[in-house]
Every structure is written in C-alpha cells, then in structure tokens.
Amino acid sequence: MNVTIVNYNSGNISSVINSFKEVAQDKVNIEVTSDLNKIKSSDKVVLPGQGSFKSCVDALNKINGLIDTLNEFAITNKKPLLGICVGLQMFADIGYEETETKGLGWISGKVSKIDNQNGKYKLPHIGWNQINIVKDSKIFKSIENNSHMYFVHSYEFIPNNKSVIVATTDYCKNIVCSIEKENIFGTQFHPEKSEKDGLQLIKNFINL
C-alpha cells in the first residue's frame, strides 16, 4: 500500500513524515511528493498544512494540476484523504485569514478567526486540549473520549452541515476539531505531535 503525503511547500512537514514513517514501519510505503502521477496512483493521501489559509491555497495553486488531481482523488474516485490543520481547513468553501480566499469546496463551510472574547483567551490556541468525540469514526478507533491532542491554530473550520463533525474541543466555545465526510477525514489538531493517541489516529487512517 502507498500513502502519499502531499509536499506542496506548505511549511514544515518533517514531523508529519516522521510520524507516518514511525507508524508504517516497513509495512506501508510512505511517499512524500507533489508528483501528480504518484498522487493519482496512491491508495491514500495526506494533506498537511501550516501557515495561513491563503498561503496554503496559493501553494496548492502554484503546482500545476495539483488541485485537479486532488479533486479527482478525493471527490471523483472517493479514495481516503486526511487533512491536517490547514489541510483540513482548506476543505471549506472559503477562508478569511489574511484575505478572503476560496478553498477546495469539498465540505461546505467557512474558516474564520476564533472569537477570543476580546482577549479573554490567548491566540493562537496552543497546547494540549481534550477532544470530545461526538460521532463514531474509523479514525478514532481505540482512542478514548476526552483524550488529549496537540493544537496550534487561530482559525476554526465552521461546516454548514453539522453532521460531518466527528469531534470538538473546548476553547472559548466548542471548536470543530475533526470531521469526516465519506472518504474525507480531517483533524484541526496535529496527530503527528500528539504522542500515542495521535499515532493511533495515524495508524487508524493507514489501516482504513
């Protein structure tokens, strides 16, 4: 089996690579590439993302044909795809970080700044927070409710259809921290930096 981590210059993806390789050992081939043919032929795709919504969308657009390839992979062929952090946020129709930017439009909704109640809460939301699993999901298999995951973000994904929400976390209010829509999965937190529970989630995705 081939799992491809999309390398599209979205910032630092070393930790994502290390964690997938740790989980995969030698049983699963972890490819890190922006090569469209390799993405097309892989079994699963991971879409990481660091920095701003706009910078990540711009970086996707810079690689000719990448967005079409991802659309074909996830929407037409319905193969499993995991978005991490801004990778998840880009599933939305639109994002408001820096400036209004169109997303991939896979899951209807928007990405806007967390309302920190006039400075009552620090932003970015950095650190370990507990997740509240609201719906059964294959990627949370063997992960207990209220487990801790590592977060770093100032913007949140607000889906229009709440049925895609798999888990939330409490910061200022309930923030969506994981979604699932058919073959499309996403986490706002960083499983690659969330110790055993994070590695379990990665394992679950690889084993889908």
Partner: protein
C-alpha cells in the same frame, strides 16, 4: 479544556547534553535524543533544546540532534540558541523542529521575526526574551545574557507579538539559576500586555514555583531545566502536583 504545559529544557553543547538526567540505565547519558525520549515518555508536553555551542564549526551538530530526536519524540520540539537568520530557521524546521526560538537575532533585526512568521507561520516562531531588572523596568539582554540592549522588555514583548511571534519565552536573568522561583512580576506584566501565550522560564527550584508561574504569573506554559535534570522531580511528579493545586494539566 486547554491544559497548561510543562516543558523540560535541555542544554546542548556540541551535540551533547551538558546538564542532564543522571540515570544509570542510560546507554549514553550525554545523548540529547535519549534524554528527550525519557521526557516525552514521562509526559512532557513539549521538549526544548537550547544549543549553547560556542564555536561556529560545531554549530551544525544541533541539526543532527534535532533530526534524530524528531524521529523518536512525537511531542512538539522547540529549538533555540544561535539562530541568526530565516535560513537557520528553515534548516531547523526541515530537520524536524516544530518551533524555533529566536533571541539575539530578533533584537538585532526585527525583520527576522516578521519574515519567518510570514514564511513558516506564527505557530513555529517563539521569541525568547532574556530580561533583567534595572530600577523600575526590565531590559532585554542578548548573546546569552552578556549584552544589554537597553530595550524595555514590556514594549519589546508587545512589538514581537505585532511582528508575528506565536509565543514568548520569557526568562528572568535575575532569577535564572537561583532556584528562588520565577520573576512573577515580570511574567504578569508581560502576560497582561500580549494576547499570545507566554512561557515562563528562569529560577525554578521546586514544584510550587511552577504553580506560581501559572497561577500568579499567568503563564500558559512553564519551562524548567535543573529540577528535572538532576532527578529532583520527574515531569510526572510535577504534573501530579499541579493537578492537586487545581491547575489543568495533561495526565
């Protein structure tokens, strides 16, 4: 609920741990990777490496250390010390650091913070402020505490937030090494001026100091070196103690 973080810090020189945990069963007590792994297995919320390599020719040793650690530890890794340019930051991130802390370079050239936070995202840019009290204000020191920039630490903290820092690592030079506890006054003043998280550093001698840093100093995270290195307390003990004091921690 978001938890307060406990961050053990390891001083690394020429690729070796200078002050480290003295465990007999360690294969190589001087290996930063093994020490970092002990901390992450023990519940450390993040790991911090401070590179104190003096000579330029040995400076590359930290890259190897970071690369090896990031393959073993799956908690965030912050690396600081000797970071001079956007290119240095890029190299550390590529080796597997999750955050880079910038000290002297941020004072000398504020563009470093501005450019790196734009390029890599604020989430990986930590500005380290070494502050020392001078009458009624705190001044920012550079070069590992050797040079006084004369800059007001409180104003500087605000400016670094505006420039895109994701977190501030504030060390009181008056308290560092004394084991008397954090400079609570300094922490409170900076924490109330900025909206980004503050990591308190310098002066921890016992677990109550960690409690004070969070409860009184309003720090989001507490960093300590010697209390963990010399085995006085384990990270787990520290967390359990904080928990009994009503501080939310990840256990």
């Amino acid at each position: 609920m978001l938890k307060n973080r406990i961050i053990p810090c390891l001083d690394v020189k020429n690729g070796r741990v200078v002050k480290g945990i003295n465990f007999v069963d360690l294969k190589d007590a001087g290996d930063p990777v093994e020490q970092a792994k002990i901390y992450s297995d023990g519940g450390a919320d993040e790991i911090c490496f401070l590179d104190i390599t003096a000579s330029n020719e040995n400076r590359d040793t930290i890259y190897d250390v970071v690369e090896r650690t990031s393959k073993k530890c799956f908690v965030p890794l912050t690396v600081g010390g000797g970071v001079r340019s956007v290119e240095d930051i890029n190299k550390l991130l590529n080796c597997g650091a999750d955050k880079v802390s910038i000290n002297t370079a941020a004072v000398n050239n504020s563009k470093v913070v501005l450019e790196s936070s734009k390029k890599f995202g604020s989430q990986c840019i930590v500005v380290a402020i070494d502050a020392k009290k001078n009458r009624d204000k705190w001044e920012v020191f550079t070069h590992g505490g050797r040079n006084n920039s004369g800059i007001d630490a409180l104003e500087y903290a605000k400016k670094m937030e505006e420039n895109g820092a994701g977190e501030l690592l504030v060390t009181s030079m008056d308290k560092d090494g004394t084991q008397e506890g954090y400079d609570i006054d300094l922490m409170t003043k900076i924490a109330s001026r900025v909206n980004i998280p503050l990591i308190a550093s310098g002066g921890v001698g016992n677990l109550d100091h960690l409690v004070d840093g969070i409860k009184l100093g309003n720090a989001s995270a507490v960093l300590a070196a010697s209390i963990f290195h010399y085995g006085k307390y384990s990270v787990k003990e520290a967390k359990e103690y904080l928990d009994t004091k009503g501080i939310p921690v990840r256990i």
